[in-house]
Amino acid sequence: MSSGGDAKLFARGKVAELRQELHSGGKKDKNYSAKKIALKKIVANMTMSNNDMVALFPDVIECMNLPSLEIKKMCFLFLVNYSRMKPEVAMKALPILVDDMEDTNPLVRALALRTISYVHVREFVEATFQPLKRLMQDNDPYVRKTAAFCVAKLYEHDKKTVENSDLIDRLNRMLKDENPTVVSSVLASLCDIWGRSESISLTIDYVSASKLVSILPDCSEWGQSYILEALMSYVPQDTAEALLLAERVAPRLSHQNSAVVLTACRVILYLMNYIADEKHITSLCRKLSPPLVTLLSKPPEVQYLALRNAILILQKRPEVLRNDIRVFFCNYNDPIYVKVTKLELMFMLTTKDNISIVLAELREYATEIDVHFVRKAVRAIGKLAIKIESAAKQCIDTLLELVGAKIPYIVQEATVVIRNIFRKYPNQYESIISHVIRNIDDLDEPEAKAAVIWIIGQYADRIENSDGLLQDYLATFHDETVEVQLALLTATVKLFIQRPTKGQQLVPQVLKWCTEETDDPDLRDRGYMYWRLLSTDPATAKQVVMGQKPPITAESEKLDPRTLEELCLNVGTLATVYLKPIHQVFRAARPRRLQHSPALQRPRVEDGTASMLEYNPPTASMASASTSNSGLATITTTGNPISPINAPPPPTFPLDPNATGGGAGANAIHAADSYFNGIGSQQMAAMDLGGRGDGGAGSGGAPQSQFVVTQNQQQGYQPQYAGGAATGELLLL
């Protein structure tokens, strides 16, 4: 195939020159080669968004009727591009298009129909309706499939008119077409309309669903995806039906096109909700694993998608992929986004049986160059200690070994995870405190500092020079981030409670700083709370501050059931990359829910989030409160219209002596306890080991912790896009 050689035409041009060229050639130019060249230059300028070209509209329309398909196509492209800028001139092209829709050549009819329906100009849209109805019954399947998509296009231009016409009914009737390509196009069109409508519902009964599955093999790979996608609108009424259909869809898992494979996975996972027999579920699950793994031999982007979906599917059906952990080991040359996702999967698939090989692997990653990846590997080790109790010791040994290499970012990361390990297994591994403290001078990131400060505070009675260590940090109190300041406040109070003599000088000073010399509302609030607590009843204070806290778990990793259910109905879509509730990322997306039917196997989750929030303060709502700025906080200082700066000193606050006594008081303490626990620290973040995923190398001042291996992390997703305000950080994994 020869190369076009048009590169020289790809240059900025002037309207007058191009117009002249367009009219040159004259009668001698039988093949219109001069016109073609001029048009190509115009198309090139169009690409460069040289909007001067719109001035050539009349001249281009003149060329539209020349007997050359090549010229016609270029003119049509021009029309589609510029019609909205000059609708009145575009009108001149309308008769030509209407004419072409009656051409004897099916390719020309389809081209005209396709083009006219791209033009977002009222007259064009109106002029499409009548011919469209005719072309929907054209005797050529190619024209019919074009007509099928055309309905969805008109629906985008003008919802109302389409809804008031009988077009959607007609489209529905086309499902009976004998040509599979037409049928799949009709389904794609219907699903598209469904997606942007509030009122239209799409339902498919068993007979139709079964028929659709039977034409799958005769459709193009894209057509197969459209049909599979449409099958999500079939609600099985009977468990046998669901099973039969799932088994008939299963061969699609061997298709080469990953869109077919992942959409088939989606359908099968969906149908499983309606299948009663566990045996069948297990056998279907077994069919899902190999295709997912095979997708790892595809290009990295597809691998990434397969991996993200594996994370999702694994939560829903843990039996999938159970034996396959080694295939998720990272190759040295995998792109970073693939590596990080593999790491997450490895974490999920690790059990007490395979932890040894996983740890060996993670230790290997911790020596790689990419700092971000190394940190995630270190975090994963710490999280495994929390996930698998019997291997905690092994994980800690690995961590200490890595800390021994004294690479600053590894030390910092390890400090954070060791703090989490202490929180998970109180009174078990404190013997390693000295190892952690030894590297205290290497810590320069807020999160790591906060972690070590927490350790010092929590174990103030076991660390000989705990007051000295804290004092070192307190010397720079005002230069620290709020995260570190909060940690210092709490740690100082803990020191005082455990070793009053050592802490008695530090506490008043810190409380004064926190209440009088800071603008941060959280710090002030917490400062006051400690102050009042300590000044009221030291015994209760001890109970509150040093009280036993529930150990953390690795469970908060998991998506809440509602989101999980929703995402499973969207396997293979963009939302599965972000693994977030769909409306959070794509507000306009029409929600999909599992539909009720007699065959539905489990009750619909009505409010799965309640249990998630029960003891897990730093999830969504609490976390956002803690990171809020002072604007919000001034509103919440109820009753006392005090300005943050001139607050009256705490002791003058009237304190109700009964408040700490009765049951109500105990409740309050409990609430306060969990409150501190929650916001108290971003730095205490081990609690949610999975909330946020800011990936910066610790440089950003954002008070967010960095977590590995989270499903909920945002990857290159920015909810509000405001002009150029997007930061350079948004793509850090």
Binding site: A7, F149, P291, V585, Y717, L733
Partner: protein
């Protein structure tokens, strides 16, 4: 579905901008340029800003970008972008900036044909080439409406990948079994991972509408349910290639999973594991498979790497061929990582040539021809410059590339390829086997 397709060169110049929906505004090109091309921190192929998602693939020196709104089918988006590359290569030989600039009008024409309202349509090269060609003259308007009908039937038919009027004087089919063998070996010599990604590529030059049946020595154990991880009885690796071939011929291999070209009747494969299809004309990838059991590792590598203080690293790398002495590997390249502050190196090899490539931080040892059962050794030394900021060397794994003809790491063999056609002609079939290194990595202490 897709709102638009954009193509950029590396400088961020927009070469193609085709919108399929009115929500794909021209300024999106600038946003992509700023947010992705000009942003060195981009590490994900997917970027969502507000309600707009950019999915991109880099190929040669161009970016192919799909713009979508709302929650699109991401798998379909990437498959489509890759299909676009396949089409571009088949039309222009190479799909790079130059090809795009030289053929931008044709690319617009193609895009208009293969996407309607952002939904991928027929993308079969063979059919498209019937009416979209680089020489505009030949395009369909010159043909009669009946010719056009033939095209439209083909584009919407169940065999959209094959024209019905193909004729060859000599009917031939070539089957290439190409395996990429992946290995990850730990510093202690344990195999962390070894598997094979196979690919069967066919070149069919067959008349009419031939029905093909294809048979492998596959153990039909796709779903045995006892897949025992990846550490089956390999490891030893002492079996010679020759023996392996015979064993495989007598025996069979277990394929973990298979994926097939659009033309293969998946229902039949699912039911009785018969691979039956009407092939496209010319070259296509018939199937891909994965095998994890009894993988024959063609090379065994023993690296010894010693850091002498902070100024020197000593290497001794021995590599042994595990396949039959009748076979040989070609283009064997061993990449031996060196620290970033390597000043100079010296190498001695018992076969082939070794050279230090500073830009890759590698010693590259090339052995053009490596006979089965032989063993070669490299001794090298890297002298390091002292650095003010001493950073530990990350010790990336040593890696191998090679290719071996008439050898499959999985032991897979083609048992038959039968061609049925109503013309009842006889056809000649050829099979060729090749094993290449996929990601063949060896770690060292």
């Amino acid at each position: 579905m897709l709102s638009g397709i954009l193509v950029f060169n590396q400088k961020g110049e927009n070469l193609i901008f085709r919108a399929f929906r009115s929500d794909c505004r021209p300024r999106l090109a600038d946003i992509f340029r700023i947010q992705v091309i000009a942003n060195p921190q981009v590490r994900s192929p997917i970027l969502t800003l507000g309600s707009t998602t950019f999915s991109h693939v880099k190929h040669e020196n161009i970016y192919l970008v799909a713009v979508t709104k709302s929650n699109a089918n991401a798998a379909l988006v990437f498959e489509f972008l890759y299909r676009l590359i396949v089409l571009g290569r088949s039309y222009f030989g190479k799909f790079d900036e130059e090809a795009v600039k030289n053929n931008f009008v044709l690319i617009y024409e193609l895009l208009d044909e293969i996407l309607d309202f952002g939904y991928p349509q027929n993308t079969e090269t063979d059919t498209l080439k019937m009416y979209i060609t680089t020489e505009g003259v030949k395009s369909a308007i010159a043909n009669s409406p009946t010719d056009s009908s033939r095209i439209t039937q083909q584009a919407t038919g169940a065999l959209s990948w094959r024209r019905s009027d193909i004729k060859y004087r000599k009917n031939e089919a070539f089957v290439d079994v190409i395996e990429d063998v992946n290995l990850l070996m730990s510093a202690t010599g344990t195999i962390l991972r070894a598997d094979v990604n196979g690919q069967i590529v066919m070149r069919a030059y067959l008349t009419g509408t031939p029905e093909c049946k294809f048979g492998l020595n596959d153990r039909l154990l796709l779903d045995s349910g006892t897949s025992s991880g990846a550490n089956g009885g390999r490891g030893g690796g002492g079996i010679s290639g020759n023996k392996q071939t015979t064993r495989a011929a007598a025996g069979s291999v277990t394929l973990e999973d298979c994926q097939f070209h659009q033309c293969v009747k998946l229902g039949r494969f699912d039911a009785d594991r018969i691979i039956s299809f009407v092939p496209p004309d010319g070259e296509f990838e018939l199937m891909r498979y994965r095998a994890t059991e009894n993988v024959n590792l063609p090379f065994k590598v023993h690296p010894i790497v010693r850091e002498i203080g902070t100024t020197k690293v000593e290497y001794s790398v021995a590599i042994k061929a595990n396949y039959s002495s009748k076979l040989f590997a070609t283009n064997v390249v061993v990449r031996i990582p060196t620290p970033l502050n390597t000043a100079k190196t010296t190498e001695r090899t018992s076969q082939g040539r070794a050279k230090y490539e500073p830009e890759q931080n590698n010693i590259v040892w090339k052995i053009p021809r490596f006979s089965g059962q032989s063993e070669y050794v490299l001794n090298a030394e890297a002298t390091l410059t002292s650095m003010t900021h001493q950073k530990a060397w990350s010790r990336p794994p040593l890696s191998l590339s090679f290719s071996i003809l008439m050898f499959t790491s999985s032991g897979l063999l083609v048992r038959y390829l039968k061609v049925f056609e109503k013309g009842n002609y006889s056809s000649v079939k050829w099979v060729r086997y090749m094993t290449r290194a996929g990601s063949y990595e060896i770690r060292y202490v």
